[in-house]
Amino acid sequence: MTKIPKKIIYAVLVSLFLATAVVIYVAKKDFSPPRVNKVVLSNGIKVFILEDHEFPTFQLKAYFKGGDVYDPPDLAGLGGMTSSVMRSGGTELRSPADVDKMLEDVAGNIELGQDYEYSAAYLWVLKENMDLGLSLLFEILKKPAFDEERIEVKKKKWKDDIRRQNEDPFEITDREFRKVVYGEGSPWARTPTAESIDRITRGELIAHHKRFYHPNNMWIAVSGDFDGDELVGKLGELTKDWEVKEINFPEVPPIEKTFKNSINFAEKDFTQSTIAAGHFGEKRDNPDKFALNVMNYVLGEGGILANRLTREIRSNEGLAYSVYSDYSYGKDYGLFEAEAQTEAKNTVKVVKRIGDVIRGMQETTDDLKADVEKARTAILRSLVFEYESRFSITNARARWDILGLPENYYKVYREGIERVTPEDVARVAKEYLMPDKMHIFVVGPETAGEELKTLGEVKRVELK
């Protein structure tokens, strides 16, 4: 039963988090969200618990600091492969096939993955299988076996993915644009190659696991149909023999935030060009973050079509179906990126329009005042959706803790947005957006590449 979604689904603003008993911004009705209970085990695991008796289910997400940025430069993919094969490669007590069978007999799921800064393990089972799920999860986390054959399967799949990584224009653009801005070898942009994957040995996976996976480096968000105190007891029991060890994080060189123009083009025989334009974003502790979020909402928040980029480039001129912008933050500098997809012959037109729309944000016009007012209202009114599920409430709380944000971050965020004025938005648009110093990346047919030369020197990007 195929359902075809057409527009980008608006993701609830990622930076929304919930604290304890707080009255949320709903015009008429007061609502006190359920309280998340934080427990720190003696071995350092920080557990965020919220019981949920509406459904007979159990959901747990465990985080470890230690993502892709910590991969050694010549072993890009090491962390990702470690987390993946932890799941698929069996444990010291159980073969890979037995792990799969044990889980699937009860329709349970355990999956591991990671992003730039963290790795995560996700467990979901029906409540009656909670004990089985937990015991298996911790077996996987503490004593993975890294079965050789499963390593081979993973390598084959990953190399095949890489072989196929230039099929989708958005996938190409997202990947290559990061490389343009951060630098191809930067830990924040580099991607595994067939060669780097081949170089990874079982020994290295074991070492990576030993380095990062310890209870003192673990956060757990958990929600479901259980008794919180009992669960804490079980978690303590399951992790009592797990070695506490200080994590030796490799040094990640700080990013040098520079702005400069560049035009980068990759040729692919499409009839459309996919365009990315932008530069560095900001760090997540920047107090201008609230104004920047409102600014990006007005400029090009993906999914809400009533933003300036969509208005100008899609609705007014019919030039694009997809156009949006994203302003992100990281431990180090994030990314500002505007993306659009248009018929190849309109490539330069759209590139220029993006710059125009950004410039239009840098003055406190009446239009900007109106847009900022709408954006603030929309953001504030939609905050209630963070409470949609109990799991998302406790998961958000865990993430705040990892990111070093206060436990009442929900309130902090709400107040931060409330304070944003149109002048603030114009100011941050001027201070943080550089329409004249943007990196441009385009993937499209040769004609688009030719046209781009009218904007300046074009660097060819080879798609590998």
Partner: protein
């Protein structure tokens, strides 16, 4: 068709949504039906603690209801539902209408010119497009851009979206509970009383979407070829997106005709799920949706019956993408019991690391990186396809994968599946309903899906017993009957060297 190969983490949340255990049944027990005088039916469910709700309005109108010359018009109409009404999206409809009428004259002439295909007078086309542009500039004085979306998001709406499929068109969004009346007032007006303004500009957007999804997407192009090969007469052969020829010839008049015919309140199902007050909601629904007049129901065309496939079919495409193998087999649709059996078959074959395809092809032989099965492609209103997709890892070929898959299907048609994998499949299927019904939007989607499809959302409740009644013999016999090599449509997407 999968455009990107993403190994879905939620292996348990299969494509099929099935009835589950006590948890799921309890949730559905609280659904309240509310039918308006004009025939529009609402399904209401109060649940959850957050003061939010998700609303989904689904029309039993999709690509299957189009005619060949207007392929893609259902999707175009969906785009138009965001353009406003006589009151919304405009500062002066009286003045605007005069321009809209002139726009339609020019638009029709442009479409007629495009209809000439290669013989179209390019100068004339250019001139007409320029005329449309200048008319749009005139009209812009009266247009309030994105009024509908702005109003929604100002009130805190999230997930404002719409989707057109072969079978149906859905409009959905989520809002804070205290915005129920606002939602009903806006939604009833903008969906049922739209003004198709900026039609020709939006037609260009739809054309860009086609470029993105089909022209520049090898998997999209491949899907189009698949349905054209597998279906000779069924409307499923006509892809939802339409094609450049039909898109270019869309006129506002044609779109309005489709709208008038199918967007009748009696042809719509509404689902509202969340922290709602049911009596109050009913009042509000009656006030805003109840006042929409029915035009007397829908005059539905009869669909040509797909002749039985009696011979194997093949097609191939070479692109800078892939390789990808597809194998498709005709099957009946819900509520035929075989459709239930296919859910079990697809789960045994492809859900999880213990599934037959994964174990044999990915883990043991390592000839593919992934295998995916859809048990009702491309949609469910009409008899459809059991679809297998496999991604061979070079140097293993499409033929290698095909041979192995046929072997597995052959075995499954001769021998009973093991009791163990059989029970495991049933457990997965039942469990997936519980997970699928944990959110407001999930519930709204599921109940409106079944209500619009077979007029019976309670099918969800009966499903568990239907699954329970299936035997291992059923599985074997169904595989043997339908999944035969000589009845397959096979597609080869070869990677350009």
């Amino acid at each position: 068709m999968i455009k990107n190969r993403i190994v879905f983490l939620a292996l348990v949340i299969a494509i099929v949504i099935i009835a589950g255990s006590a948890g799921a049944a309890t949730i559905l027990d609280n659904v309240v039906e509310y039918k308006l005088g004009n025939g529009m039916k609402f399904l209401l469910l109060k649940r959850g603690e957050a003061p939010i709700f998700t609303a989904n309005i689904t029309f039993r109108a999709g690509a299957v209801d189009e005619i060949d010359d207007e392929a893609g018009i259902a999707h175009m109409v969906e785009h138009m539902a965001f353009k406003g009404t006589k009151n919304l999206g405009t500062t002066n409809y009286g003045e605007e209408k005069k321009i809209l009428d002139r726009v339609e004259e020019v638009g029709k002439r442009l479409s007629e010119e495009y209809a000439k295909g290669e013989n179209a007078d390019q100068e004339m086309v250019k001139q007409l497009r320029e005329e449309l542009k200048s008319l749009h500039d005139e009209e812009s004085k009266f247009i309030v851009k994105d009024d509908i979306l702005n109003r929604f998001s100002n009130q805190g709406a999230v997930g404002i979206n719409a989707a057109t499929s072969f079978d149906r068109t859905s409009y959905f969004e989520s809002l804070p509970t205290d915005q129920m009346e606002f939602w009903a007032s806006l939604e009833s007006e903008r969906i049922f009383e739209p003004v198709f303004r900026e039609f020709y500009e939006e037609r260009d957007v739809v054309h860009e979407e086609y470029r993105a999804r089909v022209e520049n997407n090898p998997f999209g192009e491949f899907s189009v070829m698949l349905v054209e090969k597998a279906f000779l007469k069924s409307p499923y052969r006509r892809y939802i997106s339409g094609n450049p020829k039909t898109i270019r010839q869309f006129t506002r008049t044609k779109a309005e005709r489709f709208f008038d015919r199918y967007y009748d309140p009696s042809n719509a199902v509404g689902a509202i799920v969340g922290g709602i007050d049911i009596p109050k909601t009913k009042e509000i629904l009656n006030k805003y949706f109840g006042s929409i007049k029915s035009r007397g129901g829908v005059r539905r065309a009869s669909f040509p019956e797909e002749p039985m496939q009696t011979e194997r079919r093949e097609f191939s495409l070479t692109k800078d993408a892939g390789p990808l193998l597809v194998m498709a087999y005709h099957k009946p649709t819900i509520p035929n019991h075989d459709d239930d059996i296919f859910d079990v078959i697809s789960t045994i074959l492809s859900v999880g690391r213990t599934s037959r395809f994964y174990k044999k092809l990915v883990l043991e032989k390592k000839i593919v990186s992934d295998v995916d099965v859809k048990s009702a492609f491309p949609a469910s209103r009409l008899p459809n396809l059991f679809l297998i997709q496999a991604f061979p890892i070079p140097p293993h070929t499409l033929k290698d994968a095909e041979a192995e898959i046929e072997k597995i299907l052959g075995e499954m048609g001769e021998e009973l599946v093991t009791e163990e994998e059989f029970q495991r499949a049933k457990t997965k299927i039942k469990s997936s309903l519980i997970w699928g019904l944990k959110t407001n939007s999930g519930i709204a989607e599921e109940v409106s899906f079944y209500e619009s499809l077979i007029g019976d959302w309670q099918f969800l409740k009966k499903y568990e017993s239907r699954i329970d009644s299936i035997t291992r013999e059923d599985v074997r016999n169904t595989v043997k009957k339908y999944l035969r090599p000589e009845l397959a449509t096979i597609g080869y997407l070869n990677k350009l060297q």
